[in-house]
């Protein structure tokens, strides 16, 4: 199942020259300050961002998004260049870091850790059927 970010679809090349820090904000602010606008925009866009239930810590996730955009830009000029390969390599590296961060976050669940040691405790009962 493909999880496509609305940013990829909706923000065309027009904002390609805008520096990264402001790229996100024109889209984000209306949601926070004017929640009614969000509803109308929801209606107008076919694809909405499907926020994953569990993702890497936000800063890394943002880095992943940013690096993908940069890679797509770098490769639009010359797909066979070293810059293109280096940019996608960066995406791979950051995605790997995001994956590890996600796994670490999973491991730090206090309930899971407790239940690993005390599977017969009340809180840890599981019902399979």
């Amino acid at each position: 199942m493909a999880t496509l970010s609305s940013l990829n679809l909706v923000t065309p090349r027009v904002v390609a020259n805008v520096p990264d820090s402001t790229k996100g904000s024109p889209v984000k602010v209306p949601y926070v300050n004017q929640p009614w606008k969000r509803l109308s925009q929801l209606a107008s866009r076919r694809m909405q961002v499907i926020r994953p239930v569990r993702a890497a810590p936000d800063s890394i996730s943002e880095k992943v998004e940013k690096s993908i955009k940069e890679a797509q830009e770098a490769c639009s000029d010359d797909p066979a260049s070293g810059e293109c390969a280096a940019a996608w390599d960066e995406v791979e590296e950051i995605s790997a870091a995001a994956g590890h961060a996600r796994d670490r976050k999973k491991e730090n669940d206090p309930l899971e850790n407790y239940c690993k040691d005390n599977p017969e405790a009340e809180e840890c009962r599981t019902y399979d059927n």
Binding site: T3, I68, K69, C75, G82, A85, W88, E90, A97
Partner: protein, 409 residues
């Protein structure tokens, strides 16, 4: 008999009075004594304090070094966790150090990530237009120096490559362990480093499986799409084929992962075919075999004694030639659904270096939440872990035998 060796960190200047390793006989307990040099301790800005550390421990003046090569996202971390678990204990990052350190330390093993030897950080690589796979982005001289030092029981100050920021962080102290594992993209690339390895493993994941695994890893991230994952794999492919893939000819064991052949037109990629390619004639390493060493066997365990669900399990074993070397290949296609399938298979494999019946099954169950725990990838990773333990015990046995001989004489 315990032998004390003096460790000096590599960055020391001659201000320290003890510069050559000496051996004295002391008690069995591990003691650490930090000595001041005769003059003042000159602490330079940014470098470690120049102090001498005497550590008394059981002699392991020859650390066993294992190399593990694989592309990113290919199961190195899982393998590491299985390997350290075989030796007992969990491997954790060094306490009190850089939280983004890539190093893992347990009682017996220290795992070093070779990304720490990048000579160019992320911005540097972007400027030069090179990927991390390119040898130009790595400092092989430093890698060789430090692995050689650790192998000779000398502690080193190893740089840290921070994967989150993409920068090279200040170094951390690595003390020589009993078993040193170097994992990364290029453990066998440099010939000098290759000669230091006592055993080397290469994880060879086929393109379809790699794609499926990366989708599993990355699709939860917003920003990623099927196209971006595909583009990322393809952009890195030329460098991967040129620099990383050729290392498999040097490996003592290759774990190859391919899509299954049991399901025609399978495109889910859930069932995998794993092949363990073991080089013949490697010192302290005897390949695993099925039924009869050196003959070609094809085995489907499912039948009257064992009932398996679709698609079942298929094993094969036989000698072959791999890049000009004599090898034995053990192959498993399919999945384990039940515990008794695993025990049944284990009881028919020979030379798996277990200490008791059912050890492989026990290890697999212990980590049933790890990826690959129900198929050949987990099985072969566990078996290779046991083989490494066996190799380590053989090497240490041969080393303790030698000094005993010397004292007798």
């Amino acid at each position: 008999m315990a032998v004390c060796t003096v460790y000096t960190t590599q960055s020391l200047n001659s201000a320290c009075s003890i510069s050559t390793p000496t051996k004295t006989h002391l008690g069995f307990h591990q003691k650490q004594v930090v000595l001041d040099s005769t003059g003042k301790i000159t602490s330079k800005k940014g470098s470690s304090s120049s102090s001498c550390v005497i550590t008394c421990s059981v002699d392991h003046s020859q650390t066993v070094v294992i190399g593990l090569a694989a592309d990113s996202g290919c199961g190195k971390s899982t393998f590491m966790r299985r390997l350290t678990s075989v030796f007992g204990g969990a491997a954790e990052p060094p306490k009190g150090g850089n939280p983004d350190s890539n190093t893992l330390i347990s009682d017996m093993t220290t795992v070093i990530c070779l990304d720490d030897y990048h000579s160019l950080d992320r911005t540097g690589r972007k400027e030069k237009g090179v990927t991390a796979l390119d040898p130009r982005a790595n400092n092989f001289d430093l890698m060789y120096e430090q692995v050689k030092a650790l192998k000779s029981a000398i502690a080193v100050e190893k740089p840290i490559y921070n994967h989150v920021t993409g920068l090279l962080d200040p170094p951390e102290l690595i003390k020589p362990p009993k078993i040193l594992v170097i994992e990364g993209l290029h453990p066998m690339f440099d010939e000098r480093v290759r000669d230091l390895l006592d055993f080397s493993i290469y994880l060879d994941i086929s393109n379809e499986v790699k794609f499926a695994w990366k989708i599993q890893r990355d699709m939860a991230e917003r920003g990623h799409s099927l196209e971006s994952i595909k583009a990322s794999i393809e952009a890195r492919k030329p460098d991967f084929d040129a620099y990383i893939d050729p290392q498999k000819q040097y490996a003592d064991a290759v774990i190859e992962v391919l899509p299954t052949q049991l399901i025609p037109d399978d495109n889910e990629g859930k069932v995998l075919r794993a092949r363990l390619i073991m080089k013949e004639g490697v010192k302290h390493f005897s390949p695993v075999y099925l039924f009869d060493e050196g003959s070609t066997i094809s085995w489907i365990p499912c039948g009257r004694k064992l009932t398996c669900s679709y698609p079942g399990i298929k094993f094969s074993y036989g000698p072959d030639s791999y890049f000009g070397h004599e090898v034995s290949i053990l192959e498993m296609d399919g999945q384990f659904d039940r515990l008794d399938e695993l025990i049944y298979v284990e009881s028919h494999l020979s030379n798996i270096s277990t200490k008791f019946y059912g050890e492989v099954t026990q290890q697999m169950l212990k980590h049933s939440d790890f990826p690959g725990s129900n198929n050949g990838t987990g099985l072969f990773q566990t078996i290779v872990g046991l083989k490494i333990r066996d190799l380590y015990e053989q090497i240490t046995a041969s080393k303790t035998a030698a000094p005993l001989e010397a004292t007798k004489a």
